[in-house]
């Protein structure tokens, strides 16, 4: 790096530091610096972001929303680019969350009342194609598997798992471990969009499909059943040294904050710690967008207006 470059950088830094510096204030009140809330690409999360933002604003805080990748966001919270995360799904994001937690700079800020389940399942009309569902033993039936064959599945029934980003090889390993490998194969979809496209296409065509899904989600309303795999026990997964013959755990839905947040915004942080939504409440938020076709902002405004009782108690 040349001398000029160095000078330039130090000059830039000087300018910038003076731009971004803020006058200090007594710590008892919340800083007016905006709280940065991430938005991801599924409805309930975006609506909840605006709901929480609305509550913060009601308390007199400034808020800013930033689109972010749902996996990468924990690193951003840790560094301080993003302030909070309000939907940490155990099965999908638990790993990224704990990685960031261990590196430091991010705090576990408690659970929502809602519990989460993320596993393989099917839209309800599929049940008749495979008698015995939702018990996983029904999958051992050859006649069941053949209803799920696709051109590229090599004659086996195909299950559509989410992107490999989400759980690595968990599902293929489970299928092998349960002895279903001869009848079933697992294909990875590239994104949540791909899952919904498959769901919509299967519905139009009236064919069977088994996809990865989660609850609470907008699919709850249309009827979606999860397959009952053998119950999850601690350490049953291959990555923890187990044999892999188990389904997904009843998972947490956590909140996370940047470590400085409680210092800069003590009141907002206290509220966010108390904040807890139930499955029904989250589903209702998502439904305003997915079913009533409102925009995310309008949905949040409506929810806040209609549910004052629910959220006012978090602010006390």
């Amino acid at each position: 790096m040349g001398e000029n470059m160095k000078k330039l950088i130090s000059l830039l830094s000087a300018i910038v530091i003076s731009f971004v510096s803020f006058t200090g204030i007594a710590l008892s009140a919340d800083s007016k610096k905006p709280i940065v809330i991430p938005t991801h690409n599924w409805s309930s999360q975006v609506v909840m972001a605006y709901v929480i933002g609305g509550i913060f604003e009601d308390m007199g805080n400034n808020v800013e929303y930033v689109p972010a990748d749902s996996q990468a966001v924990y690193e951003s919270i840790r560094i301080g680019d993003v302030t909070i995360s309000h939907e940490v799904w155990e099965s999908a994001f638990g790993k990224s969350f704990t990685t960031a937690l261990d590196k430091g700079g991010l705090l576990d800020w408690g659970d929502h009342e809602a519990r989460t389940l993320e596993d393989m399942g099917y839209p309800n009309w599929v049940a008749k194609l495979c008698p015995g569902l939702p018990d996983w033993n029904a999958l051992k039936n050859k006649d069941c598997a053949k209803n799920f064959v696709t051109p590229d599945s090599g004659g086996k029934g195909r299950m559509l798992e989410g992107p490999q980003t989400w759980h690595g090889d968990l599902i293929p390993q489970r299928i092998e471990a349960l002895g279903l490998g001869d009848l079933w194969t697992v294909k990875f979809a590239g994104s949540a969009d791909a899952l919904w496209a498959e769901l919509a296409a299967a519905k139009k065509e009236g064919r069977g499909t088994i996809i990865f899904n989660w609850t609470p989600n907008f699919t709850d309303g249309a009827g979606f059943t999860f397959i009952d795999f053998p119950p999850y026990t601690a350490g049953c997964r291959p990555e923890d040294g187990g044999d892999g013959k188990c389904g997904s755990p009843d998972g947490y839905l956590k909140k996370a904050v940047n470590a400085d947040f409680p210092k800069t915004h003590p009141k907002a942080a206290a509220m966010f710690k108390k904040l807890s939504f139930s499955t029904g409440q989250i589903g209702a938020m998502a439904a305003l967008v997915d079913i009533d076709k409102m925009t995310h902002e309008d949905a949040a405004k409506k929810w806040l207006k209609d549910n004052k009782k629910v959220w006012k108690k978090f602010t006390k």
Binding site: V20, V66, P67, S76, T165, D193, A197, T295
Partner: protein, 717 residues
């Protein structure tokens, strides 16, 4: 023997193919081999081999070296990642005063520097954004959040859409006359009436920062490379890799270094947009004849004057193509940038797609394309405009545009003010038409998609099944069946035959890098999809290009279509394609073909155009038919240029194969996507991107060398 002397190359190729197939047939597939679904590092398996290099443990399945090379470079991604992490998190920690918590905080230097650079960019973006849309951050930058809280009047109001539209129309008129003015007006009104104003202005604000910065950096670096051989030598390999690296691979390292938000979006857009600008600047400056430079020197220019008054104006044509490229690239990044926090159209588009609302996504996508084309046309007109030094203008003539704009501001402001009374309880339509209150044809488009589904689904399904079982699956199996040694021999041999020992060495280096990475199988799958896409795209592009080139109107029309498709976000048609063809390779390939046909068509048209008309006439006079002329004269002469189109087609096809990861592939792209959440994601994303770039560079090297020789042979250089 006669034959051998006459066609030596042909026999060299034959010999190479014989060796290749002999290797393929003599090396059997090891019994334990299967296409590795998960990466070996996830599972601890006693069958795996391990080695430790530079303190990084690499686990892999070992096979016969002739079949698959061991991943001797497996430590590299982890090492790159750890270095990056060290640089950002541990290197030179310093105490920084944190105003918010009122305490000192230790932060590593690099992290602090990257954040400071980006804070400056955020300021620029917010400044433009708040002029267009209103807000408080610009004022806050000079005061504080507390101050703005107590003085809410200081919030910037934002320009009403009427004023911005009038401004665009006047600017269009000033730059190139009525045509552009009407186009500018239509684009702006479309955006506003369809309720896309706010996201459009958000997108525009980050592009208005990224594009000029890319232009300035690109031009400066291009000039530096022109002046100094050393700079050029250092830049050239980086440029080549950057030009062929899929944009998506830059995301992860950029996110690690610069965080998320609009500023990070600006950075990755710049990273992608600067290389073509540098290359075209360099190309343009090189082409300036020495007589022009002499003339400049004789009239007593100093170095700076020579550059700004002589060289750059003379090289303007190529620099202009650079500007065009910068703008196109910036807009093509609008959606990808949304993954790391760019607000605006790209993000709305992704949200709409997540709800399978294709119509809404289409409208947002069209906005991106139209603004891109408008900006492109404006910048071209601006650059082509000649300064009128001699005009003897009156005050009104000289300042009429300014006056008109001042008038528009006044009327717009009055309208907006009146609007605030008129639409008392609802939105002020004279200021900004909100997102969901504009007209929308989304339902119409969605119905259209439904109709296509209902009408064609059965036919498409039969076609899809046939394509997958009869063509794609066997082709994929063949690619995976190639022993690594055979592939390497084939690539290096082709390099030797085409370009001699030099090309052979370059291609050997590139292919060995991929073969020694942990992702050889994945790279084969990527190559299989790219090959299929390139063959299909070139066939379509060549046919369409040739047909359209016969008539100047169809030519113009086709080039406009190419412009639209190049900036139209591919994510929009990914969803309907997925619904029609399922989560299969067919879907990915259709997206690939749509995108990669653009350069194939464009270069065919331009290649045929470049055939001198004198030759046409000469041919016609010697009595050949139109078809004969096309086959025997135009194609051979346009061929080198068209081969450069093939080169671009390969790059475009690879980009799209990588984005195909969003549908669901098992190739390098899926791993790049995965790097987003991976512990060692930064390093892996980068090395995976380099692997993709190297695939493109192998073909690039072969094609370019061949084209150069061919051009010399034809005497057109």
């Amino acid at each position: 023997m006669e034959l051998l002397k006459k066609y030596p190359k042909l026999f060299q190729w034959l010999f190479l193919l014989i060796v290749f197939f002999a290797l393929c047939f003599s090396i059997d597939v090891p019994e334990t081999y299967k296409f590795i679904r998960g990466q070996a590092e996830f599972i601890k398996d006693p069958n795996q081999s391990t080695y430790t290099l530079f303190g990084k443990e690499v686990r892999y399945y070992a096979f016969d070296v002739l079949w698959r090379l061991p991943p001797l470079l497996g430590w590299l991604p982890i090492w790159v990642n750890d270095s990056l992490f060290f640089l950002l998190n541990e290197w030179m920690p310093m105490e920084f005063w944190n105003e918010d918590t009122q305490e000192f905080k230790t932060r590593p230097l690099v992290l602090q520097i990257t954040r400071n650079i980006t804070a400056f960019m955020t300021f620029l973006i917010e400044l433009i954004r708040e002029i267009l849309l209103g807000g408080v951050k610009t004022v806050v930058a000079f005061s504080s959040w507390d101050w703005i809280d107590k003085n809410p009047w200081a919030e910037l109001p934002g320009l009403p859409w009427t004023i911005v539209t009038a401004g665009a129309v006047i600017l269009g008129y000033k730059l190139s006359g009525k045509g552009l003015a009407i186009f500018a007006g239509l684009v702006m009104i479309y955006i506003s009436v369809f309720g896309q104003w706010k996201p459009s202005m958000q997108t525009l604000s980050f592009i208005l920062v990224a594009a000029p910065l890319s232009f300035i950096f690109g031009l400066t670096l291009g000039v530096m490379a022109y002046k100094s051989k050393r700079v050029e030598k250092a830049l050239y390999p980086i440029l080549l890799v950057m030009q062929t690296m899929p944009q998506y691979a830059v995301l992860v390292p950029a996110m690690v270094l610069f965080g998320i938000g609009d500023h990070a979006a600006v950075i990755i857009t710049m990273v992608v947009a600067i290389p073509p600008m540098i290359l075209l600047t360099l190309l343009g400056l090189r082409a300036v004849s020495s007589e022009v430079i002499e003339a400049g020197k004789m009239s007593g220019c100093n170095n700076w004057q020579l550059m700004t008054k002589v060289l750059i104006p003379t090289a303007r044509r190529d620099i202009l193509i650079g500007v065009n490229q910068v703008i196109m690239v910036c807009f093509s990044m609008a959606v990808i940038a949304a993954f790391i926090g760019a607000k605006g159209l790209g993000w709305n588009l992704l949200l709409a797609l997540n709800q399978l609302n294709i119509g809404l996504a289409l409208e947002a996508g069209l906005c991106i394309s139209m603004i891109a084309i408008l900006l492109d046309k404006m910048s071209l007109a601006w650059a082509n405009k000649q300064e009128d030094y001699f005009g003897n203008l009156t005050f009104f003539q000289r300042y009429k545009n300014t006056l008109f704009f001042a008038g528009a501001v006044l009327i717009g402001a009055i309208l907006a003010y009146a609007g605030s009374f008129l639409f008392k309880d609802s939105f002020n339509y004279f200021s900004e038409i909100p997102h969901n209150k504009g007209i929308s044809f989304a339902d119409f488009w969605n119905k259209g998609v439904d109709w296509i589904w209902d009408t064609f689904f059965q036919t498409l399904k039969i076609f899809n099944t046939w394509l997958i079982t009869e063509v794609l699956q066997p082709m994929r199996a063949l690619y995976l069946r190639m022993p690594a040694v055979a592939t390497v021999v084939l690539v290096v041999g082709a390099g030797y035959i085409i370009g001699g020992i030099r090309s052979a060495l370059v291609t050997a280096g590139l292919v060995l890098f991929i073969a020694l990475s942990p992702w050889w199988d994945r790279a084969l799958v990527t190559t299989y999809m790219a090959t299929f896409g390139v063959i299909a795209s070139c066939t379509i592009g060549l046919t369409v290009g040739t047909l359209c080139q016969q008539n100047q109107y169809t030519t113009k029309f086709m080039l406009a279509v190419c412009d639209i498709f190049q900036t139209f976000p591919s994510f929009v048609y990914l969803i309907p394609v997925m619904m029609l063809f399922g989560i299969t390779d067919t879907s990915v390939l259709i997206a690939v073909i749509v995108y990669a046909t653009i350069p194939a068509t464009r270069y065919t048209i331009e290649g045929l155009r470049s055939v001198p008309t004198a030759l046409h006439d000469a041919a016609s006079m010697s009595g050949v038919t139109k078809l004969q002329r096309l086959i025997n004269i135009e194609f051979p002469i346009a061929f080198p240029h068209m081969m450069l189109g093939v080169n671009q087609t390969i790059v475009f096809a690879l980009f799209m194969v990588i984005i195909g990861a969003f549908i669901g592939t098992e190739d390098l792209g899926q791993y790049i996507l995965k790097a987003l959440s991976d512990k060692a994601g930064g390093g892996k994303g980068l090395i995976l991107g380099i692997c993709v770039a190297f695939i493109a560079l192998i073909f690039d090297n072969l094609i370019r060398t061949w084209v150069q020789k061919r051009k010399k042979h034809l005497g057109i250089d």
